[in-house]
Subunit: 603 residues, 2 copies
C-alpha cells in the first residue's frame, strides 16, 4: 500500500507539513495549492526537499470550476490550467485533481463536460500530466461519482481518469458498490476520509468535521474493499479537513493519520478476505479484562486510607521499587511513589489483559505506538509498556487462569492475604479524561489499535460547561473506559476508578464506620428521585442516609456512591441489577456540581 | 417589560446564577430543574434568596413526556407531576412548563392530549399552579405551536395555557403570524432565543447553538411584534442553550443577555410602531465615520517611524498628556504612552463619529455599557468613553463639518500642518480580534448597541487553524470593522489598521525609499496571480516589486500591501477600484503564513 496524505490535513508551514509526513512514514503527499501559494519555497526547492525527505509529490489539488462552461470561459480555464501545469512541471507532479464545477457551470451535459475534459487531457498530455476528475458532493451538476465516471468514459482520453473520495460518496449516501464497475486503471487517485454522524449541510460537514479512517462512522473498510476489487494500485491517500487537526501539532497528527491507514487496511482484509492485499500488521486482539490500575503520587497515603476504608487489602510492598499493591477481588490497584516529586495522586497506568499478549504487543508496535522504557530487574515479570495519546501508560499482560492472580503479584512482599469474600469484586469502569485535541485519536487508539468497541458520543452538563463523553469497552463489559472531554475552564483534570460491588450499601456503611467522608449529595436529589421513580419512601431514606445515588432504565437498576477527590483521582462503588448497562449519566451533573462546591470551598 | 431568564443559560451554581441575574437587572428567572436538583439549597432557601435578591421565580421547567400516553402511564405521570407541584409550592412558583412528549407518546390525538392536559390542570388547580404547554420542535407528535394552541383550546381549562418559544417556532420555519390568533391571556409564558443560520439537526442546533436576541439570524422583532399584538403582558424570558455561555462567567453573560432584550424591544418598536410598548432606551444612531484610532505602548517610537514612512504628518504633542497625534487625510492616529508600562504597541481606542452624539451616548448608557473614567482638564473636548467587550475603549465624538477637523485636534501643539494632497485619505477598515467567548457579544455590541450592520460570518485558513471573521460596518462603508476569532494556538493577538489610498504603488514606493520593510510576499503568490487572473505580465512584475497584493471580483479590483508587525499592530494600505467591496480574503492566508514565518524567525 502506497500511503499518501494531503497537506491540508496538517497545521504549520508547507516545510513543517512535509517533514511531519516523512517522519510519520508516509510515502507521498498531495500538495494543496494554497499551501504552495503561501510558501516562500520555490517549486524547485519543494521538489528537492521532497526528494531529500524521500516522499513523492503525488497530486496537485484542487483545480476548480473547469467544465460545464461556455466556450469563452473554457478558453480562460484552459489558460488557467496551462499555468498550473507549468507549476506542476517545476514540482515534478504528474497528476492533478479536477473537481466538478460548483460555481461557473451553466451547461448540464455529460457530452459537454466530457468534451471539455478531453480538451484538458490534450493540453495535459503535452506536460505528461494525468487529470483525475472528481465529483464533489456539492457540485452544481455533477455530484455523484457514477456520473463523473460516465463522463470520464465519454471523454475517452488516456490522460483523463477519475478520483474517488470516500467523503463525497458516503456523505451523500451513494452506494459505493458501483465502484466495482470502474476500471481500476482509470482510477487515478483515491482519497479517504471518515466523518462523525451529523446532520448538517454537507459542505460544512466536509470542511470542518472530517476524521481519519476509523475515527468516524463511515464504513470505510467496505468502501476500500470495493476500490481494491477494481485492481487499483495507486496511492491510498488521506484528505481530512478538520478544525482540530489544523490547530494541533503536525507531527502527532501525521502519526495518527498514518496509523489510521494501517488499521483500515487491516480491518478491510479481516472483513473482506477476497480483497487481494494482506495486512502487514498483526491481527487485532480483544482485551479480556483490566489487570491493574496504577496511581502515581509523591505521597500516596491518602489513597491508601481511602482504599482501606473501601475494604481493599494491603497486599505488599514491591521487592525493589517504591510501589505498593492493594486488592479487592480482582481489582488490583498499584500505588507508585517513584519519579513523582511534586505529583498529586493521578491515574498513571492501565494494565490490559489479553489471551494472546504477544500478538497484541506486535500489533501495537506495528502501528508505531511509542514504547515506554521501564527499568526491570531479573526475575520480574515483563510487562510491555506503551504511551497512550491521553497520558497514562499502557501495560499488556496475559490473562491469568480463572481464580488465580497474575504472576507479578508475587513480586510484592510483607502484605496480607486477600479477604475471601470481599464486597468489591472487580473494576467496573475507569473514567478517563482526554483533551479535545486528542479525543478522537484516543478513541481510535483503544478501538482500532487495542481492539475495544466504541460506543456512541454523549454529553452531560457540569457547572462549567458540557462534558463530552464516549465509552470504549469490550463486548462482555469486563473492560469499560469512558473518556471525557472537559470544558476549557475545568481547572483540574479528575479521573476516577469505579468498582463493582454486590452490596453498595454495606460497602458505604463500613467505609463510613472506618471514617470515610463521601461526596455530599443534596437533599433535592432525593426529592427528585421520589418524584421520578415512585420509589418506596424508606428505600430512598436508606439511599440518602448513605449518600448513595440511584438510576433505573428499562434494563435494570443501578446504585452507586462517590468518594471525595484525592488529588486528581476519586473512587466510585457501583452495583448493577439485572441488565443495567449504563453509568448513571443522569446523576453525573449532581456529582459534578457537588465536586464543584467542594472545590469552591477549598476542600 | 418584565424581563426573565432561564438558569440554564448561565454557568456556575444556582446561587451564582441567581446573583448574576439580579445584578444584571433581570426581574425574574426560570428555574431549570437540573439546577435545582444539583443544588444543596432547599427550595425554601432558594425562595428566600430570590426574595432578598428582589427577583421572582417565574417558571419551573421542564416537565417532560406527559401527554399522548396510555392510561396507565398517565397515572404515573400525574404522580410525577404531583411531586413537582409540591416542590413548586415550596419554591413559590406558580407556572410550570410542560413540553410536548418526545419519548413516551403513543397516541397521536388532539382530543387525548387535551383530555390529559385537562386532568393535569385539575391537579394543578389544587396548588394554584398554571400549566404552560409548549410544542417542542422535535416533539414526537406535537411539534407545531399552532397544534399546541389547538390542544390548549380543546382542553379548555383555566389552569392550562400555552408557552411560546421563538426557537421551536422559527427553527422549523413555521410562520409566526399565526401567533396573533392566540388569546394573549392564554399565553402563559414567552421564551426567546436567537440562533445562527445552520443546517444541522434541530435538536443539536437547539442544545448547543442558541444565541441571545440580535446575535443570530432569526427575525425576532417580527416574532415579538406578533406576540405583543395578542396583548401578552407576562414575562419576556430568555432560554438560550449555548456551549459557550455554559463555560463563561455568569455575570458577563447575564449583562449581555439583559441588554439583548432591550435592543430587541427597541428594534421591535422601531420596525412595528403599532406594537403597544414604547422603547425605554434612546434611539439607535448610526456612526458616520471613524474619528481616530488610539495605539498605546510604553514606547511608540517604532509606530511613529512606520507612520512617517507611510506619509503621515506629525500633528503635535498633547498640551498636557503624553499623547501624540499623526494624520493623513482624515485618518487620525493617536499614540498614547500613558499608563503603558511594559505594554507593546496595540490598538487601545476607537473614536466613532455620530451626527447626534448625545443620543448615541444615552443609548449606550441605557444598555448598561460600563463607562471608562478619563481624566480631563478644563478646556479639553469631552469625549464620552465606554468599555467594549473585546478590549479597546470606545469614544464618541460629533462629526466635524465637511473639510474641517474635530475640535480636539487643537489640543495638540508643536506639530506640522497637514499635507495638502496626501496619498492616504482615510481609514478603510480596522481589523480587530475578539475571543471566542466574546465574539457574538462583540458583534451584537457594534450592531444592536452602536448601530452598525452585521455582515455574514466567513473564515480564512492560517497555518495554525481557521480564523473566523465577521464584519460590522455602516452602509456607506466609512466605518468597517472586521472582527476575527483566532485559533487557540495563535500566541499573539495582532490587529491592524487599513488605510485608503488613491495610489498604493506610490505609497509603497515612497515608504520603501524612507526605509520601510514590508511583509514579504512569496514568489509563488505572483505565479498564482498570473494563473488566476490572466493579468498583464508587466503589471504583475510591478506588483511583485512593491510586494503589493491583488484581488478582483465581479465588482472591481483591489490592491493592498502590509507593513511588518510592530508589537500587536500593523498597517495595511489599500486601494479600491470600481465597486470592489471586499477585503482581499483570498490573500489573507498568504499574509498569515508570511507573518508566521517572521514570527518563527523571531523578527
Amino acid at each position: 500500500m502506497r500511503t499518501s496524505i494531503a497537506t491540508v490535513c496538517l497545521s504549520g508551514s508547507l516545510e513543517e507539513k512535509m517533514s511531519a509526513c516523512a517522519r510519520a512514514g508516509f510515502q507521498g503527499i498531495e500538495v494543496f495549492e494554497p499551501d504552495l501559494v503561501s510558501s516562500d519555497l520555490t517549486p524547485e526547492e519543494i521538489r528537492a526537499r521532497a526528494e531529500r525527505l524521500g516522499i513523492s509529490l503525488d497530486l496537485y489539488q484542487p483545480f476548480r470550476d473547469f467544465e460545464g462552461v461556455t466556450d469563452e470561459l473554457l478558453q480562460a480555464n484552459l489558460r488557467r490550467a496551462k499555468a498550473r501545469f507549468e507549476v506542476m512541471a517545476r514540482l515534478g507532479i504528474d497528476t492533478i485533481l479536477v473537481c466538478s464545477n460548483v460555481a461557473t457551470a451553466t451547461i448540464d451535459s455529460d457530452e459537454v463536460s466530457a468534451d471539455q475534459l478531453r480538451q484538458l487531457g490534450d493540453l495535459a498530455a503535452q506536460y505528461n500530466i494525468r487529470v483525475a476528475f472528481e465529483a464533489l458532493a456539492w457540485g452544481r451538476y455533477i455530484s455523484d461519482y457514477r456520473r463523473a465516471w460516465r463522463i470520464v468514459q465519454l471523454a475517452d482520453h488516456p490522460q483523463v481518469g477519475t478520483c474517488l473520495d470516500s467523503f463525497h460518496i458516503l456523505s451523500r449516501g451513494h452506494d459505493p458498490a458501483g465502484i466495482e464497475e470502474i476500471d481500476g486503471e482509470k482510477i487515478f487517485f483515491l482519497q479517504l476520509a471518515d466523518a462523525p454522524e451529523m446532520s448538517m449541510d454537507v459542505l460544512s460537514w466536509s470542511r470542518h468535521h472530517r476524521l481519519f479512517p476509523g475515527e468516524g462512522e463511515f464504513d470505510l473498510p467496505k468502501f476500500f474493499a470495493h476500490v481494491l476489487r477494481t485492481g487499483y494500485t495507486g496511492p491510498v491517500s488521506l484528505e481530512v479537513f478538520n478544525d482540530t487537526f489544523r490547530q494541533t501539532a503536525s507531527g502527532t497528527t501525521a502519526v495518527q493519520a498514518h496509523r489510521s491507514l494501517f488499521t483500515l487496511a487491516d480491518e478491510t482484509v479481516r472483513r473482506f478476505p477476497d480483497t487481494a492485499r494482506t495486512s502487514t500488521i498483526a491481527r487485532q486482539q480483544t482485551p479480556t479484562g483490566l489487570d491493574f490500575i496504577e496511581i502515581q503520587a509523591e505521597d500516596t497515603r491518602d489513597v491508601e486510607i481511602a482504599l482501606e476504608q473501601l475494604g481493599f487489602d494491603f497486599r505488599g510492598q514491591h521487592r525493589t521499587k517504591r510501589v505498593r499493591l492493594f486488592s479487592a477481588g480482582s481489582a488490583r490497584i498499584v500505588l507508585n511513589e517513584q519519579y513523582a516529586r511534586g505529583v498529586e495522586p493521578a491515574i498513571s497506568g492501565l494494565g490490559l489483559l489479553y489471551e494472546d499478549v504477544e500478538t497484541a504487543e506486535q500489533r501495537i508496535e506495528d502501528l508505531s505506538v511509542p514504547r515506554v522504557p521501564r527499568p526491570m530487574l531479573a526475575g520480574e515479570q515483563r510487562l510491555p509498556a506503551f504511551a497512550t495519546p491521553h497520558g497514562p501508560q499502557l501495560f499488556l499482560a496475559a490473562a491469568p487462569e480463572a481464580g488465580t492472580e497474575p504472576g507479578w503479584v508475587e513480586e510484592f512482599e510483607h502484605g496480607f492475604e486477600p479477604a475471601t469474600a470481599p464486597h468489591i469484586h472487580t473494576f467496573d469502569h475507569v473514567n478517563l479524561v482526554s483533551s479535545w485535541e486528542t479525543h478522537d485519536e484516543t478513541v481510535h487508539f483503544y478501538g482500532g489499535v487495542l481492539g475495544l468497541d466504541k460506543g456512541a458520543a454523549t454529553e452531560v452538563a457540569s457547572p462549567h460547561g458540557l462534558v463530552r463523553s464516549r465509552v470504549v469497552r469490550n463486548h462482555s463489559g469486563t473492560v469499560r473506559l469512558p473518556f471525557n472531554v472537559l470544558p476549557p475552564v475545568h481547572q483540574r483534570k479528575t479521573e476516577h476508578i469505579a468498582l463493582t460491588s454486590d452490596n453498595v450499601l454495606v460497602v458505604a456503611h463500613q467505609a463510613r464506620q472506618r471514617g470515610m467522608e463521601f461526596l455530599p449529595v443534596p437533599a433535592n436529589y432525593y426529592d427528585d428521585l421520589r418524584a421520578r421513580f415512585d420509589l418506596d419512601e424508606e428505600y430512598v431514606d436508606l439511599l440518602q442516609s448513605h449518600q448513595v445515588l440511584y438510576d433505573r432504565d428499562s434494563h435494570g437498576e443501578f446504585m452507586h456512591f462517590y468518594t471525595r477527590r484525592i488529588g486528581g483521582v476519586f473512587f466510585e462503588v457501583v452495583q448493577r441489577f439485572s441488565e443495567y448497562d449504563g453509568y448513571g449519566a443522569d446523576n453525573a451533573p449532581v456529582r459534578l456540581a457537588a465536586q464543584s462546591r467542594l472545590d469552591d470551598a477549598g476542600r
